[in-house]
Amino acid sequence: MKTVPKVVNPVKRAGEQSPGKIYDEKLKVRARREWRGVKDTFYDYTRWLYLIFVLARFIVVPRNIKGFFRYRWMMSYLFVPHGMDKFTIGLRDEALRIAHTSFNFVIADVTQAIANCFRGDRRVGNDKAYSDKCVITDENSMVTFMMGFDTKKVHTILREVPTMFASNIFHQFNVMHYLDIAQQYGIPGDVCPMPEAEAGISIDDDFCVLGSCAVQNNTTCDGSLMGNGIIAKRLEREYGIPTFQLATPLRHKEPDVMEYAAREIKKAIAFVEEHTGEKWDWDVYFAAAKRVNDATRCRIAQMEINSTPYPQFFGAAFSLYNDTNYMGNSGRNADFVKIDHKLLKLAQRGYEAKRMYAKEYRHRCIVWGVQPQYVIDMLYWMVQCWGVMPLTDMLSVINTEMIAEVDTPENREQAYRDMAMLNMEMIMRNHTHGGYKVLVDELWELCEKMNADIVMMWEHMSCKALTGMHGQFEEQARERGIHIMWVSHDLCDPRVFTRQAIRDQVNNYMRTVMREEPLDPSLENIPDNEAY
């Protein structure tokens, strides 16, 4: 089997040595926050203050209070600081700053998204003029077709992000209610719980109602495609909001689907123009395209740092920041550029100082598959507890090609193909769809490129595209001498696999197959199954 040299941290970690002690099974939150030494604790405290400020600034607006008491998913809003603590377990120095910089920005962005939802929501803010300039989009959707609309004039509302996705990260039980509703109405329990929960939210009438129109997508999976019909029916028939289904070819590596995909992008743009009354602006588009390329370059640079023995930007923050920037932003918000560069600078500084975030790195790991949202701290846990360093996750392995960024007549045609390419190569589906090569073969290429000796395979039990290749992964990993550690979960339903049940799969593999002892035994069992 392949092995990699162990890297030992010559520096003793400042502050707490065993963060596992801060969990208490009697409480549904941590007993206290982590002591990270004076400098890093103070830094963490200031970021906590900032977070409280962001949250307070949001909630003092009367319509937001009204929205808070109307929508069940808003309960997770209260647990944002708790969620933030999950992103920083055991972190110090640059990695701590990277996690805060990236994720505080994402939180501010999502908070703004909620504020926008409430402003236009017919039940809450009911600002009709604003709502008429809003376009609802899927949560799992590239918003490339909005890149050429001025963000001050047309507002992209990813209403499923705070409702379902973020909600589950901050409060692990918050989505269960919607799953129960969906199943009560007949949707089986074996489909992917993410679109199922979204359908449940629609059935429960717990989505904000706003927008002049909605654009849906088939980007993730069969379940996601099918859940759209239920949501669109309510939007169209009850609320009179027209929907457009943006078809995105599945076999995205085949050149013969490109023209169709580009035509679909054109249709989506025309649909938005028709319903918002705003026109596509090529200046706005190419400015956004430049930012997309800039983000791509930064991401490639981050991946290069992670290919070295001293990765800096890793774990959930890396994954979720990339998701938000690549998919939910797609170059539209200029603020992401500043953050991208700040993060890169921090990572470069950490790399130069050879910073490490555990006592030792025993294994270099590629994380493949789809991560469960309610165990978002898992990858930090893995490196702290077992010295398994997650170099990258599947969702962060996305486009590396540059798109046309100069406004010329030819590039205006190319732009549709670029948008189509990005749309087809959305996070996750660029690997889970398009044939086995992008799922299986590309994994081994990545292992080679990043010098990984182990693959942590998230086996999301309802993700049929991934589990359908289970045997191939097993056999091919064996042939290549790469360890493959299966970790089953059900994405956002903690009743199927609890947090500890998920961690135990790693514990068992490391003890029985790798015959290793944990770096930090206090983390092996954490009493947080009942915690939010």
Binding site: G186, I187, G435, Y436, G468, M469, G471
Partner: protein, 399 residues
């Protein structure tokens, strides 16, 4: 009713995918084009000396090896097909053409390819994967034309020298239509108050047209049609006339089970059924045949993976229209377990057909091979039939 003369022959043909007629087609020098989804335009797989064989795995028992490769979370048909392929049950195939219609079936075929389950000793053997349309627009037709050209016509021509000209396509469509006309005419006998054919018998005949070389069953189908014209129907009344809608069903045992409860399956709207799979393709002379065939498949497609809302609503309307035409008392929405597209379609369809169209609906999931677990299904169908009877009594009609 007296048994249909060829019923037992058809039943025997459905005992295995590699049946006697497939073997005969091979010895006749035909190119056996295996496929797995109703979204592939069937006439294109029957060009010249080609004959299409839709893969199925009757009498599936253990699926252990396929379950190792794909886990027990994937739908049973996809695992059953992989298992059968690994066992060598599809060795007759000269190529496999599959669309990326649903993920699970696509993964099944990819595993078949990676495990080299077929094509041993055949240098011309190939696997092709197609993108298929999502909506009912001319842009989707253009996509389908390109996909059929690149992934059906080109490889068939290059590997087996198949004539893929417009004339050849028209000729294949005509042969396809002949089968469709026969099946539809036979199906008409289910409409009367005293039907001359049961749902089970019809499903056996219809299924055979998918899994057998069509040219070898034409005579038997024609003879069956003639026989039905004079067949004396049973005098017994059926407790309820049911329309069965849903996912992939290649197991006549399921229809038999429903009819054993005293119901008549008067119409079928499922994958491997006659609606829309056995609707004639009408061609004009103004446009090339390939485009027209693709448009037919897109316009008539009732697969839930068609995502535009006109299709979403249209599918329910289509079911309601069939129910009215065939005078159905109720509708069974069935879904093979773990099928994602039909999980949602069944939920929405059963709700809409009840709420918007007023039909009693039974919404069930089922195993691939109904014989493996028939008790629960029997109870549910029984209860459904009884509930329809009670409603009839309450309305003052004769049960």
């Amino acid at each position: 009713m007296r048994d249909l003369k060829h019923l037992i022959t058809f039943e025997n043909l459905l005992q295995t995918a590699n049946n006697a007629l497939v073997a005969q087609a091979k010895s006749d020098g035909k190119v056996c084009v295996a496929y797995t989804c109703e979204n592939v335009p069937e006439p294109l797989l029957n060009l010249g000396d080609c004959c299409s064989i839709r893969l199925f795995a009757p009498h599936t028992g253990s699926m252990d090896i396929a379950t190792y490769y794909m886990t027990n979370l994937l739908c049973e048909p996809s695992r059953a097909l992989l298992e059968r392929a690994i066992e060598g049950g599809f060795n007759f195939a000269d190529c496999v053409i599959t669309p990326d219609g649903c993920t699970m079936m696509n993964r099944a075929v990819e595993n078949m390819e990676l495990l080299h389950t077929m094509g041993e000793g055949n240098p011309h053997f190939f696997h092709e994967y197609m993108e298929i349309a999502f909506k009912n627009t001319e842009s989707d037709v253009a996509l389908a034309v390109l996909q059929c050209t690149n992934h059906v016509l080109k490889p068939l021509h290059e590997n087996y020298g198949v004539d893929v000209s417009d004339a050849a396509i028209r000729e294949a469509v005509e042969r396809h239509n002949k089968v469709c006309r026969l099946i539809r005419e036979i199906g008409e006998f289910r409409k009367g108050d005293k039907p001359r054919i049961t749902g089970y018998e019809f499903h056996v005949l219809c299924l055979a047209t998918y899994v057998c070389p069509k040219y070898l069953i034409l005579d038997m189908l024609e003879e069956t049609l003639e026989e039905l014209k004079t067949r004396e129907p049973d005098d017994k009344p059926y407790r309820a006339r049911l329309l069965v809608v849903g996912s992939e069903m290649d197991d006549p045992g399921m229809i038999k089970l429903i009819e054993e409860q005293g119901a008549l399956v008067c119409c079928d709207r499922f994958c491997f059924g006659s609606y829309p799979g056995r609707c004639e393709i009408v061609l004009n002379d103004e446009e090339d045949a390939l485009t027209q065939v693709c448009r037919h498949y897109i316009t008539n497609c009732q697969c839930p993976r068609m995502m535009s809302m006109d299709k979403v609503y249209g599918r329910k309307q289509y079911v309601a229209d069939l129910a009215r035409e065939y005078k159905a008392d109720g509708i069974i929405y069935q879904q093979v377990k773990f099928c994602d597209p039909w999980a949602y379609e069944r939920t929405l369809g059963s709700a809409m057909l009840h709420a918007d169209f007023g039909y009693p609906v039974l919404s069930v999931d089922r195993p691939y091979n109904i014989a493996s677990s028939s008790g629960q299904m029997r109870t549910r169908v029984q209860a459904f039939v009884e509930s329809i009877e009670i409603k009839k009594i309450q309305r003052g009609e004769q049960a």
